[in-house]
Amino acid sequence: MRIFVASLRKLVRRPASFVILGILIGLLSLILIAVAATASQPGAPEEQRAGLLLVTFPGAYTSILSFILGLGGLFAVIYGAAIAGSEWTWGTLKSAVARGESRSRYQLLSFAAIALMIGIGMLIAFGAGIVVAVIGANIAGVSREGLSDAETLGTLPELLGRGWLAIVEVGALGFAIATLARSQLAGIGAGIAFFFGEQFATFFLSDIVKYMPFNAANAVVATPGEGGFSGGGGGSVISSLEPNQALLVVVAWLVGSLLVATLFTERAEISG
């Protein structure tokens, strides 16, 4: 518990926590406002007007969450990699191990703190997204009637829970990659390459890629076959998993990533 609290304190003070969240909210706001402003122009083509769905409630709730899972997935992999990699780069893991700390416990509790921070960040981004979507709806002159749709609001906790698990899985992937790389920069680089590699692979191996971590994470809250608003180009081009099936795949990736990170740390020769 001491390590969890200390890790949380470290993350709260870490500039990366705020920078990443700020960029995510900034991009989300920019896109929602831009879409609302252009789609509401008189004489806008039908395809452009379809963009108004992003600021039309209650569907906007899922759209915002899908966006957070899509682009936020990239940020989560960077965040997980930055935190895990810096422990090796700065030698702070070395200091903890030399004090007799359990390597596995240190890694798992550090990740638990990351997972909590990701959850808090996701809620803040989601809240900010709703506020911006309301503003966008006002700009576009779209009704905000669905904002208080009881049925949708009733499903939000489950959607947010699934979304949190999905984004934590992607964070765990970054955590594992940086642990294997033993480096902050290499971990971030490899995480980004994984993200774009997976998006690129959808064009050739869509039946396999749907089981990959980023696609599975997107499918957790998406309507089957829709692909969601991933921000990464998934869209309706590829088939995606059923949400519950995707949830199982996400859990498998999450557990696998943490297992790899923990086992590697346990057996690693720590130097530098």
Binding site: V5, A6, S95, A98, R99, E101, S271
Partner: protein, 338 residues
Amino acid sequence: MAPDRRASRGYSSGVTIDGLALATRGLVKRYGARPALAGLDLSVPSGVVYGFLGPNGAGKTTTMRLLTGLIHPDAGSIEVLGRPFGRGDRHRLFEVGALIESPSFYPYLSGLENLRALAATGAPTPRGRIEELLELVGLRERARDKLQTYSLGMKQRLGIAAALLGDPKLLLLDEPANGLDPAGIVAMRETLRHLASTGKTVFVSSHVLGEVQQLADVIGIIASGRLVREGPIEQLLQGEGEVRVRVAADEVEPARLALASLAPDGGVTASGDDDGWLTVRIETARAAEVNRTLAEAGIYASGLEAGSDLESLFLELTRGDGSGSHEGTFFGVAGGTR
């Protein structure tokens, strides 16, 4: 030097050692095909300052990493505070404090926050201990400043504070004087001596031989991954040392003959560079005798250097160590006249 200090400790030649704070037996560690340690046998008595010396690449840092469980040996055994220390014995490190290589901290946190983060790992740290240590290492005023604003010496002092967090019985310090200013070095030396006087064991790896000579009770010298000498420092330095003296180039031979009475059996050698330097193998404390002997022979020295005794011993013992950079050349520049 302070021989009285060690005498009062009752640690001198032939004295039996009640217990060892740290011991390694046949410790072997390889990196690929290259052996970093080739059967290291260390015996570190309790309650002393132990100076661990060796040329670059001799295996000092590898030893430190093995002693703190960061890496694991390919063969051999380690005993920490009288009990075996293997892969599953991390709890033994609860009584050990370590500063290995450079101090490792989070740059975006303050010194205080860094110590708090570290205190959350390993053995529980008593309340008030962090503030006490910040005071001890002279960082109380800067405790709330971010680490990235600290100088190298301040980071080193924070590293020493971090090593002392758990009030360890055994302290392992790798080059603790790195980056410290002269006042900081003196303060560190006094702190380490004080810790040893309270029964704690301080294991210091260092390149600064003069510093080790002033600080350590016992030294171990490692070369090519093996211990080549170990024991109480005054015992090892008996008969060691050399004095270098410079005379006019045409007086080298008469000077050598005159000084032969002080160091017989080839104990006087000329540098061979016609620069007038002679090396006399006697204790450095007898440097004045060298000068007097030359004067009595009507030869006047234009230069006199009393080398460190430990330095002489170190160079003699590690001369064959191919891993070291002290011998022959240093960054491609020809070495000294030794």
